[in-house]
């Protein structure tokens, strides 16, 4: 897919584990893994908002468009 999820990069920068982030944004670790591995087909605004709040970043830091 042309949309790349850079969540793992931002998480590494913030030094936060998957379990910790999952707990903070109130989603399961399995769903966070789907998001991190780029398997997700869509992301809710509420989830994106929670991630941005937890990681103190912008949506553009997490999502990136790369033409195929």
């Amino acid at each position: 897919m042309a949309i790349i999820v850079n969540l793992d990069v931002v998480m590494a920068k913030r030094k936060i584990s998957s379990g910790e982030l999952a707990e903070k944004i109130n989603i399961s670790q399995a769903n966070l893994s789907i998001l991190k591995t780029g398997k997700a087909k869509a992301i809710r605004f509420s989830t994106l908002e929670a991630i941005c709040e937890a990681l103190n970043c912008q949506p553009g830091d997490i999502l990136e468009y790369k033409p195929e």
Binding site: I34, A40, K41, A42, I43
Partner: protein, 149 residues
């Protein structure tokens, strides 16, 4: 009290009952065909082997449909409704109905009323195909929903 579980159980039992009836009908096919020829004003003795050929080839198709139907009901019973395997089962049932229709259509050349069976089988095949399309679309929707985080 009537429940979804009991409804499914009823469907399974009816499928098994039809399987039993089919087995009995196939075993007794020569007797039934003979009696039918004797009772019918339009059927003739020379058609006897053709009736048996239609019965056995149609019976094989019907048996396969019943097996696929039971597999489908089993999957529904274990909670696996929107899976690709069920779409495959429905596709198989649909094509087998069409095949049954073709057999009946060919049989209509020696005994015209088989044409009604051919039309009915093709129509059921069409209905099953539409149901298959619905399930395939539902799987796509479910997948999208499952992967929306």
């Amino acid at each position: 009290m009537w429940s979804k579980k009991r409804s499914l159980l009823l469907s399974k039992w009816v499928t098994l009952l039809f399987t039993l009836l089919l087995a009995v009908a196939l075993v007794a096919a020569p007797y039934i065909a003979q009696k039918f020829i004797q009772a019918s004003a339009n059927a003739h003795q020379w058609q006897f082997p053709l009736f048996l050929l239609s019965a056995y080839s149609g019976g094989a198709v019907a048996a396969t449909i019943l097996v696929l139907l039971y597999c489908l009901l089993y999957n529904i019973g274990v909670g696996q409704v929107f899976i690709q395997k069920n779409v495959s089962y429905l596709r198989g049932i649909s094509w087998l109905c069409i095949l049954g229709g073709v057999i009946a259509l060919a049989s209509a050349f020696y005994y015209l009323p088989w044409g009604i069976v051919a039309a009915a089988a093709a129509f059921i095949g069409l209905i099953v195909r539409v149901v298959k399309n619905v399930i395939a679309a539902a799987i796509a929707l479910k997948e999208e929903n499952d992967y929306t985080i």
